[in-house]
Each structure stands twice: as C-alpha cells, then as structure tokens.
Amino acid sequence: MADILQILILGLALGGVYALMGAGLSLVFGVMRIVNLAHPSLIMMGAYVAFWGFRLYGIDPIVMLPVAMVILAATGVLLYKLVFEREAKSAKYSEMTVLLTFAFAMVFEGALATAFTNTQRVTTPDYAVDAIFIGNVFIPLGQLYAGIVSLVLIGALALYLKYSRFGYAIRATTQNREAAELLGVNVNFVGLVSFAIGLALAGAAGALVSFVFSFFPSKHWEWIAILMSLVVLGGMGSILGTVVAAYILSVVAAFVGFFFGATLSTLTFFVALFVVLLVRPQGLFGEKPELA
C-alpha cells in the first residue's frame, strides 16, 4: 500500500510541474491557434532567468518567478507585434505558425547557447533535494513547492478568465474568433495579451523547472513531445484539460515506470497521444472539430 501511495505522490508531484509547462502552450493555441513549438525553449529562457538570479544574487527561484514572467511576457509582446500579428487572419495561420515557431525554437536555442554556453545548469536551493518523510513515504519538497506554485498560478489565470471583463473577451475569442470580433472584441489586442500571458506562464514554468530538472539550451526538444501529449489529451486550447491531462499522464507514467520499467514510463505519453488522436481527437475537454 505504501508503494502505491508513494508512486501516486511522485506522479502527482511531477504532474504539477507539467501542468504549468503545458498551460501556456494551451492558452496560446486556444486563443491564437498558434501551435507554439518554441514554448519549451521559452521555458528554458525562464529557467535561465531564475538560474542567474540564484547564482549571482542568491535569489530563490520562486522569488525570481515574477521576474521571469515579466521578461517572457515582454518577449511575447515583441514577438507578437513583429511576427505573429501580421498573418493572424490567414486561413493557413496555424500551419504557418508550426513552421515559424519551429524556426524560433532553433533560434532561441542558438541564442541561449551563445549567451550561456551549452553547459548544463540547475538551480540548487536546499529544498530542491529535500523531502518530507512520513514513515516510508516521502514527498519531495522541490516538486511539492513547484506543484503548489503551479496550481496557484493556473487557478489565478482561471479566475481571471472566468470573472474579469477581459477574461470574457479571451474566452469569447477562444470559442469563436469571428463572432467575438463582430461583437466588438478587439481580437488582435486579445491575441497580444494572451500571447504575452502564455509566455509569462512559460517564464514561470521555467523558474520552477530550474530546480526540478537540470537543463541546457537544447533540452527543450525533449519536452515538446511530452507537452504536446498533454495538450492533445486535455483538448487543444483547454487549460483545464491540460492540467487534468498533466496529472493523469504523470500518475499513469509513474505506475507504468514502477511496474513495467522506466522505458515504458516515457512511452506512456506518446501512446496516450496516439490513442487520443485515434479515439477522441478533440481530447478530454476540447470541442469536437466541425466537419468541413
């Protein structure tokens, strides 16, 4: 029983981190239909902000989190105005953004490697390798803190989307961009703000990832497939779905890893991706695609 409880805890702990990593990706797709393959490289940027804050000034990565969010949000505004705004009305916008963001991922990786070298980094606050032990069961503090912060941020975003006036506009744009525009929503501005929020979430996730995993510029390639699995299972564009998927897949992967081996543990994410696309392409919380 202790084994089962332990695996459940470890799965949930990892799920909390994945949830925030996937939330920004989901938001940006939901509002803008941008499949942002550069999202993990932006998470990496947030991780470097937290790392250098800790290394140079001893600032805890969780304290550096708002700084990472602001820097990434500003990057988002810049990127949106320079690149993504132009073709937003194009019928092929989503397809274009796949290639565009893939290119950006490579550019960001190169820029990070140039600025910070390819050396692996990890932020090392004491709690990152500490745990609370209750009998034979332990709760890793680093992942616990990361999971709590992640849920607070996602909860705040959910409340903002649900109860603020601008949140209505974002949700309306997510549901039907043309209808929202007809009703007077400035969809371009909504897109800009949503993109900035999405990247701010990447920055926050980066700050948390910086003490949970070690990282280096090209590490993002390992994350994109996992994050896409979460977003697809949750339903493209559904933040709630992404969070639920993150917890489900992390827990399932933890059990698979324990009972069937670590190799199959990682495979869980990709099997889920295939199964969802075959059986329920809209994911758990996504809308069923309209037939042309």
């Binding site: 470890l10 190169g110 490697a113 390819n118 050396t119 497939a225 670590a262 543990s265």
Partner: protein
Amino acid sequence: MTIHKLLAGSAVGAMMATGAMAEIVIGASLPLTGAFSISGAKHDQGYQLCVDLINERGGINGEPVRLITSDNRSDPATAINQYERFINVDQVDAVFGTFSSRLTFPVANILARNGYVHPAPAGGALRIYTQGHQNLFYFQPNAAEYIGSSVTDMIQELIAEEDRPTTAAVVVADDFFANAVEAGLLGLQVIDPADGSVVEDMAPGYLAEAGIEVVYTEKWPEEGFNDWLNLANSVKRSGAELIIALTASAEEAVQVTRALQTVRAEPKMVYYSQGTQAEFLEGTNDASEAILVHTSWHAAAPYEGVLGGQPFSNADFVELYQERYGDFPDEDAAIPFAVCQGIEQAIIGAGSTDNAAMGEWLYARTNEDPVRTILGRFAWDERGLPVDKPFLMAQWNGGELQFVFPTDEFETSPLNHPKDGF
C-alpha cells in the same frame, strides 16, 4: 578591365590557391547542440586549442593547420553527412572523430569506406571495433565493456573484505556507451547489430566475479525521461550497497544524484560512468562526496606528450587550457586534445597526409615507441583498441576529483569509503 588586370587577378588567384594547398585541413563534426552538446562543446575546445598551439609552433611539417568544425546537432545522420562533405566537398587532409558511441558507430563506416584514419575520442562500445575497420584508433584506455573491471579491481584491492559492498543496483541509460559498460558488469553478450552475431560474451560479468550480487536493474530511455525520483526510490528500496549509474551524460548523472539525495539513499559506494565534469559538481554540490567515476584523464597524471615536435606535458595542457578558456579542463577537452596530438604525430611519422601511410604508422606503434599524448602513451591492437592501458578511477572528495586507482601508476589519494549518505 584590361588584359593586364585580368592577368594580375589570375596570378593573385593562383597564388591564393597555392597558399590554400599549403595548409593541412582537418574536419571535425561535433555535437555542439542537442543531447551531447555539453561534451561536444568541450571537444571543440580541445581540438581548437591543440590546432592553435600546433600553428604557434610552426604547424605540421611546416604547414599551418586549419580546422573545420561542423555542428551535427547530436544527430547520427547529420554527422554522416558532414563527414561525407568534409571528404568529398572540402577534401580535407584528415579528420578528427566525433563524440559519443551513438555517432561514432555510423561515422566509422563512412571513414573506413573512404580510407581516412579515424581517431575516435569517444565511441567505446566494443561492437564499433569488431566491424573489421583497419583505420580506427581509439583514444581512450579501452572498450567500454571492460570498464567494469577497473571498478571491481579497485574494490578488491583497496577495500577490506568485510567492508566491501555485497549487493548492487545497476541503473542504465539506454545508450550505446552505457549499455556497453552494463554488458561487462552484468556479463551480457555483446551482439553485432549488423548480423546478430555474438561479438563477445562477457559472462559471468565483473560484478559476479567479484562476488557482488545484483539486486536491482533498470534502464531508462535516452530521451524524454524525467521520473528520476521514482527510479531513485526503487534503487533505495532494493537496499543495494553499491549503486552503479551508467549514464550517457553528465546531465543525467546530476539528475540521478539529486534524486538519490532526495530519497535519502544510503549506499556504501556509488559509481557513475559519467561525472568528471565541473558541471557535475556544480549540480550536485556536497552530494558528490565519495562518488566514484572512471576517467580516461586526470589533471594530476604526470603524462609527457609531444606537440609541434616539442615536449608537451599534461600540466602544460591544464595551464594553457585555463589560460585560453578560463575554466579547469576535464576529460571531454583532454581526450580530443590527445586525438589531435595523435594525428599530428601520424602526419609527421608518415611524412605526409596520406591517410594510408598515417594509418600504417599508427598501427606500427608499440608501448616502447607509442604515440605520446597528454593521456599518456597509445599503441593499438588490430581492432583499434589501446593495448595495456587501464582506466583511471577518480573520486569526488571535498569538491575535488581525486585520483584513487590504480595505485601503481601515479600518486593516489586514499579511497573515501564507505560513502556517508548523499
């Protein structure tokens, strides 16, 4: 434009072409980005430093050396393409090998087919050396399958019988190199992927020979694995006294260590296949204490090599590397430096960049008349594996990587045993 100007331009062009032919061009495809980028970037530094120092000393046989480096993104197909380009487009005079067994294995076929000497700084898996290549020279002590003997020899020679670990947990990255080390430790068969034949049967394995029972094994996929805590918890629950983590990169070694620290594992001894790098210490801090790592190079090893036709010691390398890059070197920079020394000596020995002659000269080396590098002497057997060259066992103590075994080569530090938790 007058005819005179045309003639003058042609003359300058001809002179430039002549000048270009009077240099020795060497190509190296390295994983500067991607999974192996940490080691790849250091290999680049090692190669570049060596080439620059050769040029400062007047080049090879009076000709300057130009190094062409390409980033293969840790991708085997790209590495193959880049070496083919070096050979067919750039028409390089020689090549330096790439990093990691995963890339070296396919590249070996290309270089063999084109008759180029293949000095490999990495790529220790035995099956690379059983393909019948006559042009392959490995610049580390031995094939990865044999590394385990250094670990068990050290245990048996340095630790009293009652203090030796009796059980082991072996966790392995599903990687060419890590799998090779695992095969030796666990006594597995080394299979040739081309025809399924058995290259070597490592049974019963070094651990079994040393009387150490393997109580837990696990393998994780080389990419995308993040569930380190689950893995570490299983290792801890196995109660193994010796934890062996065969990682493919220093980054994985950091992840394993932090996870073992979090779950508060308390083994007697820990051995990693990677972790000599400064980045490992930075990522693990005090948890690195008493962790053992095998290495091909150590800063304190009093090796005397040759560079630019002049004596060049390991200490010279350490000093000049620090002067150039501001960091303390590790084996990922030292090994490629030794490769470069080997190629320089081969060109001088052959009297030209004729790769066939270079290969013959390298094969003719003996322990009495070896290639002399900052990694010590090199002479190779018919497979391209060094002869009579032991791996060095090093241990992190007090933030310093100390050389602990074998004890009959140089001055060693005492083995810190048993390990006091993480």
